[in-house]
């Protein structure tokens, strides 16, 4: 399991490092710079130290948005990861149905995010939308513009519809990369379908599932365009997630200093959780046979 020790491997990493650092480092430093200043206009700025950070940390509306965000991302992971794995396991392995199911699964991913929200506005409208019409004909009242619960249900439906395909595609590619020899060995041993999943497929999918969990966590934690278009953060503040609140400060009030401090705290929260997820997935089941 030990890797080769060789610092020359840096030459293979260098192009990636340069291309990412070009876009990453200067903007990040600029935002750090904003976060410790009070900016009135071009050339008019005052150093304020950690004032914006203290203000942000004590903002109760931000705390509410943070809890909403954690609930949202938690639900996203709990639904999308198991559902995505289950779908990937049932996908066909050969024949024309591979093309059909792969292309169909990928469709929601390809729609620009602002358009996703717009589609779901129409789709859930009771007068001209299929979903709204169908649910009303069942005798249920459903209105995501008035009821916070309905707004959350609509958002979760949209989110699961939109992003489960990402988990499906990753898990499917991971499953297809398992050498046939493993399955042959399992069938000789007379292993049950569950045993094959638990001891062959799941461990072999560790790599793709790590990236699936991290991607879904990061992107759902940063979600902006879809809820902004669909609910605008309402009704009330019930779907005001962190990024919607951030844009309110950054663009709505044009408070660049506090918004920058907010961004950095936001970034650190995502970093912390991603690191914890990463460590947890890396270490789970480490003691088992490969």
């Amino acid at each position: 399991m030990d890797k080769w020790e060789d610092n020359r491997a840096w030459f293979l990493v260098l192009p990636v490092f340069v291309i990412v650092a070009f876009s990453a480092i200067i903007p990040l430093m600029t935002v750090v710079n904003y976060s410790v200043q009070d900016i009135f206009g071009p050339g008019q700025r005052v150093f304020v130290g950690t004032e914006w950070f203290e203000e942000t940390l004590h903002d109760t509306r931000l705390h509410d948005a943070l809890w909403r965000q954690l609930l949202f991302s938690g639900l996203v992971l709990l639904i999308e990861i198991p559902l995505g794995i289950a779908i990937a396991l049932t996908m066909p392995k050969k024949g024309w149905s591979v093309s059909l199911s792969l292309v169909t699964v990928a469709l929601p991913l390809l729609i620009p995010w602002n358009v996703i929200g717009t589609i779901w506005i129409v789709f859930t409208r009771p007068d001209i939308g299929l979903f709204g019409k169908a649910i009303n004909s069942l005798g249920l009242t459903f209105d995501h513009t008035a009821s916070p619960l309905d707004a959350w249900i609509t958002l979760m439906l949209m989110e699961v519809w939109h992003w489960t395909p990402l988990v499906v595609l990753l898990a499917y590619a991971g499953l297809r990369a398992i050498p046939d020899a493993y399955y042959q060995a399992a069938s000789i041993d007379g292993a049950s379908a569950w045993a094959v999943f638990r001891y062959i497929q799941l461990p072999k999918m560790r790599g793709v599932l790590t990236i699936a969990v991290l991607l879904r966590f990061m992107d759902s934690f940063l979600i902006y365009a879809e809820p902004f278009v669909l609910t605008g953060g309402g009704p009330g503040n019930s779907t005001t997630f962190l990024s919607i609140y951030l844009v309110k400060i950054a663009v709505g009030q044009f408070d660049l200093g506090p918004a920058a401090a907010f961004s950095l705290i936001y970034f650190l929260i995502i970093l912390l959780f991603s690191w914890l997820f990463y460590q947890a997935i890396q270490n789970v089941g480490k003691g088992e046979a490969p």
Binding site: V13, I19, V122, P165, L169, L242, S274
Partner: protein
């Protein structure tokens, strides 16, 4: 044997139900794209009673519309190529070697996906204007590398780590040089990973709006930004927006169609 058959059918039914539900919102968009705006707002209909291609014709004849597609395709293709070409060797390094700071650099790469975009747009604009890159395709392609290159490295590293290192060692003993080994032996082994990576790079670059809109004005303006034009003084033109939405799906659907065989291709060690 009969119980196994029954289970097989049940699995398929679950998949078919999922794909059907998945397709419903897309079908609704397709339905709307074939109707006029007045028709959409006027009545509820499960299918277009009086189908018209007017919305599509408008998009294909108005340069303001179709140039958005061309711009998006150019920078997305550029971005996918840059991401794959740079990420392949880097992912190999991370999956095979221990080197100074390897774990830190690996995780640092991913942290570039974690920043909320809103406040970063202004510094991005300043950085790219300094280099005179504003309103060029390469600017958008480069800026999208910020989130696509790390993604590509992470996905590819996962697939490469699944390949036993005995393959590399055997090839080097057989006298293969590194580039020849990498291209003729290693890349075919991870084609499922490359397929899924190419699709994700294409997809994330295709749907990204904030950076693409910030860095462009007219010459390289993306389709997603053009689509906000459907909101006019008279309200939203749902039919036109739906047609544009259907057309935004097409290029990516073609990409996944072309990589499908690589995705579904099993990985067989015996055939090296």
């Amino acid at each position: 044997m009969s119980s196994g058959k029954g289970k097989f059918e049940k699995k398929r039914i679950g998949l078919i139900v999922y794909l059907f539900l998945l397709f419903l919102p897309i079908y609704w968009m397709l339905n709307m794209s074939l109707r006029t705006n007045a028709d959409i707002l006027g009545s509820f209909s499960l299918y277009p009673t009086d189908p018209t291609f007017g919305n599509y014709i408008k998009i294909f004849t108005d340069p303001a519309w179709y140039s958005g597609y061309i711009n998006s395709i150019i920078y997305v293709t550029l971005n996918t190529i840059i991401s794959l070409v740079t990420a392949l060797p880097a992912a190999y390094a991370f999956s095979r070697f221990h080197f100074l700071g390897d774990k830190h650099v690996f995780f640092w790469l991913l942290t570039n996906r974690m920043a909320p975009a809103a406040v970063f747009l202004l510094p991005f604009f300043q950085l790219y204007s300094t280099f005179g890159l504003i309103d060029t395709h390469i600017a958008v392609a480069l800026s999208h590398c910020l989130f696509n290159v790390p993604l590509a490295v992470w996905i590819l590293e996962g697939f490469m780590s699944g390949i036993p290192r005995e393959i590399d060692e055997t090839a080097f003993i057989d006298g293969y040089t590194f580039p020849r080994f990498f291209i003729t032996i290693f890349i075919p082994l991870i084609r499922a990973g490359i397929g899924v990576t190419a699709f994700f790079c294409f997809m994330f670059s295709w749907v990204e709006l904030l950076l693409a809109r910030t860095l462009t004005t007219t010459e390289a303006k993306p389709i997603a930004a053009t689509m906000t034009r459907t909101v006019s003084a008279t309200g939203l033109d749902w039919g036109l927006l739906a047609a544009a939405g259907i057309l935004t799906i097409v290029p990516g659907a073609l990409v996944i169609y072309f990589v499908r065989n690589h995705l579904a291709k099993g990985f067989a060690l015996g055939r090296v």
